[in-house]
C-alpha cells in the first residue's frame, strides 16, 4: 500500500476543489484511505493520518473514528506522535466522549515524563479539557508539579490547578500548601499564573479569601516594582512593563479589597499611582487604567480616589477609540447608582454617544441616559431620547419606549408635557411599546381630568393619520369611547379645537373594525368604544346597527361583546346610561413593601397580597415616596405626581402594617398572592363589572349613620349606601370633622378589613380637616362582603396637629346590621 499522502499535500488538493461537492468527494476518498490505514494498525503513518483527519474536522466533516487513534498516539513514545495525539484529544475527545477517560493513565504517565515538553503537553491537555473524573484522579500529580522549581512546568501546573478547581471545587484545599511561596517567584510566567490561581481560589471560597488577604502588601510591592522598574525588553508592551500581569494583580486586589477597609487602605496609594502614571496613548495603558477604575469602584476606596476613577472614565468617553468609549459607558453604567452626581457631570458626553454608529455603544448610552434622568434635566434629556427613539434601530425601540414612559411618569413637569410625550412615543414607536403600556396609559389619561379634551383631540388626529400602530389605536379608541362627547363639542383649552361631527367619529371607529391592520384586541376596543358613544352621541341608531352586525362576527370575542351590547339596547336599556358612564379616577392598589422589591423592573401590575391577618389597603400618602426611598425601590412602581389631593397620588410600595409599627423588614410574613391581573379599564373590586359610579342612590332602605371614631377632637362619621346591582357591596362615606382650634393637616385615613371582605378606598376630598368644624373631609369606601359576615374594620389615622404628628389606631365594630346583612 502506498504511503498515505502528506498533510500539506492533502490541504493543497482539497483547496483546488471548485465546488462543495468536489470537496466532499475528495474528503470521502481520503477518509476511506485513512480508515483502512487505521484498521491496519499502521504505527508509522498514524500521526500523519490523524493530522489530516483534524484538518478535515476543521472543515466540518465528522472525525469521530479518529478518537481511539489519538489515544494510541498519546501512548506512543515519539514526541511527534504525542504532540498530534494530544492536539487530537483536545479537538475530538472532550468529556462527552465515552473514550475520554482512557486518556487518564497516559496523562498520568506523561505528567511524570523525563522530558519537560511531554509533561507540558499533558498539563496543557488536562488544563484545557480534563473532565471532573480525570481531575480527581490526577489532582495529586498536578499538585506535585505545582511545587517544582522548574518554572516552565510550574506555570503550567498552576493553570492546570485552576481548571481542576473549576471542575471539582472540593479539591481546592489540596492546593493550598503549594501556594505558599508562589508569589516570591521571579519568573513572570509563574507569577502571572499564580495570580490567576489565587484569584480563582479567592473567588470561590470566602475562607480562602480571608486567608489570602495577607498577601495584599506583597501584591502591592510586585505591582509597584513593575511600574517603577526600568525598561525590561522581555516583558515590555509599548513602553509598559508586563501589562498582563499588572491587570491580573489589579483584579486580584479588587477581590481582596472588596468590603475590607484595611486591605482597601493598603492599596490606595498604588491605585492612585497606577491611575495617574499610566500612559494612555495606546490600548495597553488604557486596559490597565480600565482595570484600575474597576478596582477603585469596587473596593472601599476613599472618595478622592473614586472621583479620580470617574474622571478617568469621563476622559475615556472623549477618546477617539471606540473601544475605549464602549468600555467607559459600561463602567459608568455600573457606577451610576452609587456615584450618581459624579456621573451626571458627564451627561452631555453620554447623550452624544446616542448618535454613535456602533450599536453596542448606542445601547449603553441609552441605558445610561435613562439612569441619569432626573427632575432637573427631564425636558432636555427627553428631547434627546425621543429623537433617539425616532432614529434608532427596531431592536432598541421597545426598551427605549418603556424607558421613556417610566421616566415621564416619574419626572413629568406637567400633565400636558406628559401626554405630549406619550403621544410622541406612540406615534413614532407605536408598534414597539410593550403590551402593558396600553392599560397604564389609559389610567394615566383617565386621571388627568383637565386634559381629557386635549388628549382625545390629539389622539383622534393621530388616528386619522395612521391606524397601523396597535397600541396607539387601542388607546385612541378607548379615549374616543370615553370622551367622544368632548371631541364633538369643539371645546379644547390647550389647543385649537377641531370641528368633528359624530358621524365622522363613528366612521373612524367603524373603519378600525373593518381594517385588516387591526388586531382582534383592537377590534374589541373599538366596538366597546362605539358602544360607549351610544350614551354620549345622539346617533344611537347607527350605533345599534353596527353592534347588531357584529353579533354574528366570526371572532368569538367580538361576537360575545356585540351580543351583550345588543342585549343592553333591548332588555336592559334602562341600565345603559349608568353602565356606560364616564370612568372614575382609577387607583392602583399597591402591594406590601417586600413584595414590591421582588417585583422590580417597573412592574406595574398591582397585586393584592395575603397577610397573615388582614388584607391591606393603601391610601395615597405623602409618606409613600419616603418609604420608596427607604426600601430602595426607586423604579418599583411609577408614582404619578399630583399636587391636588383629589387626584390619587397613586401609591406605590407603601408598606402598611395596621397591626403594628411600620416594619420594613420581617414583620408579618407577607405571602404575595398571585396578582389578579387587574383589567385597568374597570375599577377593581367591582366584580360584576357594572357600575362605575361610587354613589348609588337606589332602592335600598336608608341605613343609619354611625360614629366610627371620636377622640382628641377628631370625629369620623360613617354614612352608608348599598349598591343596588350588587347587594354585597356596601358604600361607606366617611366624614371627618375637627372640633379643635387648629387644623389637622396631612390627614390620612387608612382602613383594613378581615380576610373575607374586600375593601376599596377612593380618594379623599382633601387632606386638611379644618378647625372648629368649619368643614369636613369626605372619603368613600367600598366594601365587598360576599359572605355577608358581620362587618368589622380597623382604622388608622395619621395627621399633623399643631406641628406634631399624631397617629392612632382604632377598631370599628358597631356597624349597623343593615350595612352588611
Amino acid at each position: 500500500m502506498p504511503a498515505p499522502i502528506r498533510l500539506r499535500e492533502l490541504i493543497r488538493t482539497i483547496r483546488t476543489a471548485r465546488t462543495q461537492a468536489e470537496e466532499r468527494e475528495m474528503i470521502q476518498k481520503e477518509c476511506a484511505a485513512i480508515r483502512s490505514s487505521f484498521r491496519e494498525e499502521d504505527n508509522t503513518y498514524r500521526c500523519r493520518n490523524v493530522a489530516k483527519l483534524l484538518y478535515m474536522h476543521m472543515l466540518g466533516y465528522p472525525a469521530h473514528f479518529g478518537q481511539l487513534e489519538c489515544l494510541k498516539l498519546i501512548a506512543s513514545q515519539k514526541f511527534t506522535d504525542k504532540r498530534i495525539g494530544y492536539l487530537g484529544a483536545m479537538l475530538l475527545l472532550d468529556e462527552r466522549q465515552d473514550v475520554h477517560l482512557l486518556m487518564t493513565n497516559c496523562i498520568k504517565n506523561d505528567l511524570n515524563h523525563s522530558t519537560q515538553y511531554v509533561q507540558g503537553l499533558a498539563l496543557c491537555t488536562l488544563g484545557c479539557m480534563g473532565s471532573s473524573e480525570m481531575c480527581r484522579d490526577l489532582a495529586g500529580e498536578v499538585e506535585k508539579l505545582l511545587k517544582t522549581s522548574n518554572s516552565y512546568l510550574r506555570k503550567k501546573a498552576a493553570l492546570c490547578a485552576v481548571h481542576v478547581i473549576r471542575k471539582v471545587p472540593e479539591l481546592m484545599e489540596m492546593f493550598l500548601p503549594a501556594t505558599k511561596n508562589l508569589l516570591s517567584e521571579k519568573n513572570h510566567g509563574v507569577l502571572h499564573t499564580s495570580v490567576v490561581l489565587l484569584t480563582e481560589m479567592c473567588e470561590r471560597s470566602p475562607d480562602m479569601l480571608l486567608h489570602f488577604r495577607k498577601l495584599v502588601p506583597q501584591l502591592v510591592r510586585i505591582l509597584k516594582n513593575l511600574i517603577m522598574s526600568g525598561y525590561s525588553p522581555e516583558h515590555d508592551v509599548s513602553g509598559i512593563s508586563d501589562p498582563f500581569l499588572q491587570v491580573r494583580i489589579l483584579r486580584l486586589l479588587r477581590i481582596l479589597g472588596r468590603s475590607d477597609d484595611d486591605s482597601s487602605e493598603a492599596m490606595n496609594d498604588i491605585l492612585a499611582q497606577v491611575a495617574t502614571n499610566t500612559e494612555t496613548s495606546k490600548n495597553v495603558g488604557n486596559a490597565i487604567l480600565y482595570e484600575t477604575v474597576l478596582t477603585i469602584m469596587d473596593i472601599k476606596s476613599e472618595s478622592g480616589l473614586r472621583v479620580l476613577a470617574i474622571n478617568i472614565l469621563g476622559r475615556f468617553l472623549l477618546n477617539n477609540d471606540k473601544n475605549i468609549r464602549y468600555v467607559a459607558l459600561t463602567s459608568l453604567l455600573k457606577t451610576v447608582q452609587t456615584d450618581h452626581n459624579a456621573v451626571q457631570r458627564h451627561r452631555s458626553t453620554i447623550v452624544d454617544c446616542l448618535k454613535d454608529l456602533d450599536v453596542s455603544i448606542k445601547r449603553r448610552a441609552m441605558e445610561l441616559s435613562f439612569a441619569l434622568v432626573n427632575g432637573n434635566n427631564i425636558r432636555g434629556m427627553m428631547k434627546e431620547l425621543l429623537y433617539f427613539l425616532d432614529s434608532c434601530d427596531p431592536e432598541f425601540k421597545a426598551d427605549c419606549a418603556s424607558g421613556v414612559f417610566l421616566a415621564a411618569e416619574k419626572y413629568a413637569p406637567s400633565k400636558r408635557w406628559h401626554i405630549d410625550t406619550i403621544m410622541r412615543v406612540l406615534t413614532t414607536a407605536g408598534s414597539y411599546v410593550r403590551d402593558d403600556s396600553v392599560p397604564n396609559l389609559i389610567q394615566l389619561i383617565t386621571n388627568s381630568v383637565e386634559m381629557h379634551a386635549y388628549t382625545v383631540q390629539r389622539l383622534y388626529k393621530a388616528l386619522l393619520d395612521d391606524i397601523s400602530q396597535q397600541p396607539l389605536v387601542q388607546v385612541s379608541s378607548w379615549c374616543i369611547g370615553e370622551y367622544g362627547d368632548l371631541l364633538v363639542s369643539g371645546q379644547c383649552e390647550e389647543e385649537e379645537p377641531i370641528q368633528v361631527t359624530e358621524d365622522e367619529v363613528l366612521d373612524v371607529l367603524e373603519g378600525l373594525l373593518v381594517s385588516n391592520l387591526s388586531t382582534p384586541v383592537t377590534r374589541g376596543y373599538s366596538l366597546t368604544a362605539i358602544m360607549k358613544l351610544s350614551t354620549r352621541f345622539s346617533s344611537v341608531n347607527r350605533i345599534k346597527k353596527v353592534v347588531s352586525i357584529y353579533g354574528s362576527s366570526i371572532d368569538v370575542e367580538l361576537q360575545q361583546r356585540a351580543v351583550e351590547y345588543n342585549a343592553l339596547f333591548k332588555k336592559y336599556d334602562h341600565m345603559r346610561p349608568a353602565l356606560l358612564e364616564r370612568m372614575p379616577i382609577m387607583e392602583k392598589t399597591a402591594s406590601n413593601g417586600p413584595t414590591e422589591i421582588m417585583q422590580t423592573n417597573g412592574e406595574t401590575e398591582p397585586s393584592v397580597p395575603d397577610t397573615k391577618h388582614l388584607p391591606l389597603v393603601t391610601q395615597p400618602a405623602n409618606q409613600a415616596n419616603d418609604l420608596l426611598d427607604l426600601l430602595g425601590g426607586n423604579d418599583v412602581m411609577p408614582v404619578i405626581q399630583t399636587t391636588l389631593p383629589t387626584k390619587p397620588a397613586s401609591a406605590g410600595g407603601e408598606l402598611l402594617d395596621l397591626l403594628g409599627d411600620l416594619s420594613l423588614t420581617g414583620g408579618p410574613t407577607v405571602v404575595p398572592a398571585p396578582a389578579p391581573s387587574v383589567p385597568v379599564s374597570q375599577p377593581p373590586f367591582l366584580l360584576d363589572g357594572l357600575s362605575s359610579q361610587p354613589l348609588f342612590n337606589d332602592t335600598s332602605a336608608a341605613i343609619p349613620p354611625m360614629t366610627a371614631y371620636s377622640k382628641n377632637g377628631l370625629k369620623i362619621e360613617f354614612t352608608f349606601e348599598r349598591a343596588n346591582p350588587n347587594p354585597n357591596i356596601a358604600v361607606i362615606t366617611i366624614h371627618a370633622t375637627n372640633t379643635t382650634e387648629a387644623d389637622m393637616t396631612e390627614f390620612v385615613f387608612q382602613a383594613a378589613v378581615p380576610k373575607t371582605f374586600q375593601l376599596q378606598l377612593l380618594s379623599p376630598s382633601s387632606n386638611i380637616v379644618p378647625a372648629l368644624n368649619q368643614g369636613s373631609v369626605t372619603q368613600v369606601i367600598r366594601v365587598l362582603n360576599p359572605q355577608k359576615q358581620q362587618l368589622r374594620m380597623r382604622v388608622k389615622l395619621t395627621y399633623t396637629h399643631k406641628g406634631s404628628p399624631v397617629q392612632d389606631l382604632a377598631e370599628v365594630n358597631n356597624f349597623p346590621p343593615q350595612s352588611w346583612q
Binding site: K78, Y117, C128, S131, V162, G189, H192, H235, N323, L357
Partner: protein
C-alpha cells in the same frame, strides 16, 4: 476566563477553533456559524466588542483573518485585545510575516503555539521570548524524533 477562540476568514472559513469549555459538537457548529455571521456583518468603524448570548465577544481583524474571543462578564475586554495581539505577534515571529496561508497549511503549528501561550483560556507566560523558545525546543524534539527514523528507513532497517 476565555471560553473559546476562533479564527476565520472573510469568506466564513474556519481556520482555527479552540474551546476551553466542554461543548457538544452540534452546539459548537451552531455557535460558530452564528458568531461568524454576526462578526462578519460588523462595519469597519464599529467597536471591537459586542454582546452575544451571555458572553462578551472581542474580535479584531488582521489582514484577511478575524481573531475572535469570547470572554466572560468580569473579564477586561481591552486586555483581551492585547492577548489577541500577542498571539498574532507570536505567529508572526514564528512564521516570519505570517499570512493566512501559513495558518491554513500549518494549522497544527498554530495550535501548538496557542497551546504554549494559553492554557484553559489564561496566559501561561507573558514573555514572548519565553513562549517562542519553548516552541523552538519542542520543534527540535520533533525533528530528533523524525531524523533517526528516516535514516534507518533509508538503510531499509525500519
Amino acid at each position: 476566563m476565555m471560553r473559546f477562540m476562533l479564527l476565520f476568514s472573510r469568506q466564513g472559513k474556519l481556520r482555527l477553533q479552540k474551546w476551553y469549555t466542554a461543548t457538544a459538537e452540534r452546539d459548537k457548529k451552531k455557535m460558530v456559524r452564528e458568531l461568524m455571521q454576526v462578526v462578519l456583518a460588523r462595519k469597519p468603524k464599529m467597536s471591537s466588542f459586542l454582546e452575544w448570548r451571555d458572553l462578551k465577544i472581542v474580535y479584531k481583524r488582521y489582514a484577511s483573518l478575524y481573531f475572535c474571543c469570547a470572554v466572560e462578564e468580569q473579564d477586561n475586554e481591552l486586555i483581551t485585545l492585547e492577548v489577541i495581539h500577542r498571539f498574532v505577534e507570536l505567529l508572526d515571529k514564528y512564521f516570519g510575516s505570517v499570512c493566512e496561508l501559513d495558518i491554513i497549511f500549518n494549522f497544527e503549528k498554530a495550535y501548538f503555539i496557542l497551546d504554549e501561550f494559553l492554557i484553559g483560556g489564561e496566559i501561561q507566560d507573558t514573555s514572548k521570548k519565553s513562549v517562542l523558545k519553548a516552541i523552538e525546543q519542542a520543534d527540535l524534539l520533533q525533528e530528533e524524533d523524525e531524523s533517526p527514523r528516516s535514516v534507518l528507513e533509508e538503510m531499509g532497517l525500519a
